[in-house]
């Protein structure tokens, strides 16, 4: 059992006691052998920080520093450390005599005699209010920022949802309108008795059909900016075959899955359509049998599109009165900054078209 200390400081004086007394850090010493572990020593710095007089603190348990906002768990941890005779460092919200709260960064440790027996508890207080205030401000700023980000994310999502809905709506209208246009053409063709007029209308309905196939395939896959030439060629080939005399004229497709930009989809589709229907119309007149081949693949930095037939050939072909199909082909090739060559295969004809591609279009 230790010597009880005087209210002024540790008994016996000495240089250590003098150092504690004059330390600018608030310090207290308690006596766990007295009932309720009261304060037996408090230095001037402690009195200055807490605002109490010395006679108001000596003999009292430290809990008078606690107040309404003090964290009960933190107090519990201090109590547990004392019960286990262990040291603890903890931030506690304490209150001055005038009721003003301050953050106390407390370091508490047991003091033992030479034999290891518990003599006192020694606590050093640090007013860490400025640091805590900064931390609180940071936490608050962070939570405001998070709120802000949440708000903006929600606003962006709403804008994106609206844009997606609009895209679906426009896509839906384009597709419906193409169906209406195609139906109008076919209805008019049905009512047209003049064979030339009827053929012209059916030809236009067919071209619109090729564009319709493009739009049916666009926006169905995940990437709305790309158009797969092979998907188109497969659908288009089926439609073309349906109009062929299957035993007489056969169609073969060798189209690589090239993903071209969506903006090239319509001109490419028209090009393939014109070349193939031209071949069907002119190469195999008068019941001549044969085959048509559609090929497309990457050729260096360009797309190679080749449509060949083993029909009557260019020179022998029936001259087209208006040559609209041929003119359309040349126009589309020019629009796509490509080049076309016509080869005489004897028998038959091949149209070879080289179209420049963007770097991003060169692989699926």
């Amino acid at each position: 059992m230790s010597e009880p200390m005087s209210a002024a400081g540790p008994a016996g004086g000495g240089s250590f006691a003098a150092a504690f007394r004059s330390s600018p850090l608030p310090m207290v010493l308690t006596d766990p052998h007295q009932a309720d572990n009261p304060i037996v020593f408090a230095n001037d710095a402690f009195l200055r920080v807490t605002g109490y007089r010395r006679d108001e603190v000596i003999g009292r348990n430290c809990r008078f520093l606690q107040g309404p906002q003090t964290d009960r768990d933190a107090v519990g941890r201090v109590r547990a450390a004392i019960a286990r005779e262990e040291s603890i460092e903890i931030d506690l919200l304490n209150y001055r005599r005038d009721g003003a709260p301050f953050w106390n960064g407390m370091a508490l440790s047991p003091v033992r005699d030479e034999a290891g027996a518990l003599v006192h508890y020694f606590a050093v207080l640090t007013d860490i209010s400025p640091r805590r205030t900064r931390e609180d401000r940071l936490t608050q700023a962070r939570s405001h920022l998070e709120q802000d980000i949440d708000d903006r994310t929600r606003a962006l999502q709403a804008a994106l949802d609206q844009k997606t809905a609009l895209l679906h709506e426009v896509d839906h209208r384009v597709k419906n309108n193409l169906q209406v246009i195609s139906s109008l053409m076919l209805l008019k063709a049905r009512r047209t008795t003049d064979p030339a007029g009827r053929a012209a209308l059916l030809g236009m309905a067919d071209r619109i059909g090729a564009l319709a196939t493009v739009h049916r395939l666009l926006y169905t896959a995940g990437d709305v900016s790309r158009f797969d030439l092979r998907d188109f060629a497969t659908d288009f080939g089926s439609d073309l075959e349906a109009g062929l005399d299957g035993d007489r004229v056969r169609l073969s497709l060798a189209v690589d899955p090239v993903a071209v930009s969506a903006s090239k989809a319509a001109p490419l589709a028209l090009l393939m359509h014109e070349l193939a229907t031209n071949a069907v119309r002119h190469a195999f007149a008068h019941g001549r049998p044969g085959r048509i081949a559609i090929e497309a693949r990457l050729d260096g930095e360009a797309l190679l599109l080749a449509i060949s037939d083993d029909g009557v050939g260019l020179a022998a072909g029936i001259p087209n009165p208006d040559g609209f199909g041929r003119a359309l082909i040349e126009m589309v090739v020019r629009q796509m900054r490509g080049a076309i060559t016509w080869d005489d295969l004897s028998p038959g004809t091949r149209a070879r078209i080289l179209l420049p591609l963007d770097p991003s279009e060169r692989r699926t």
């Binding site: 839906h172 139906s183 319709a212």
Partner: protein, 140 residues
């Protein structure tokens, strides 16, 4: 009855030109169009009265996106095969609302007639060799 016999068809479509051309196309292919409806109320009433063998149903009708409800109502009547013809396949529910499949608009005459032929075969109890490329059997 064989799978190639003509079907009695109900056309549910709010675009008059599309409906008319569809009618011509089906008649030309040997089917008979027993009625056309532009709204869901008309469609369900005609379905109950005419008992068609096939209904071609658009999703967007004059009274809104009610084609799904039409398909659900018609599928409860026995013996009606249903195909959606729509530019808005995303509206078709997971279970296809009782329909056999979806023909995406804009369709070509070939793909529409191939889908109708497929429906005729299924309805006659035949197992079609393959699904025509213009016909989708799943939603989404």
């Amino acid at each position: 009855m064989t799978a190639t016999d003509g079907l009695r068809v109900l056309v549910v479509e709010d675009e008059v030109f599309v409906a008319l051309e569809l009618e011509c196309m089906l008649e030309e292919a040997g089917h008979s169009v027993v009625g056309t409806a532009a709204s869901s109320v008309e469609a369900i009433a005609l379905g109950e009265r005419l008992r068609p063998e096939l209904a071609l149903v658009d999703i967007h009708l004059t009274d809104g996106p009610t084609g799904v409800a039409v398909a659900q109502a018609l599928s409860r009547l026995n013996g009606i095969a249903i195909l959606f013809t729509t530019a808005n396949a995303k509206r078709v529910p997971e279970d296809l609302a009782g329909a056999l499949g979806i023909v995406a608009k804009p369709y070509s005459p070939r793909s529409l007639l191939a889908a109708v032929a497929y429906a005729a075969q299924v309805r006659a109890g035949a197992a079609p060799e393959r699904v025509p490329d213009g016909l989708r059997l799943t939603a989404g």
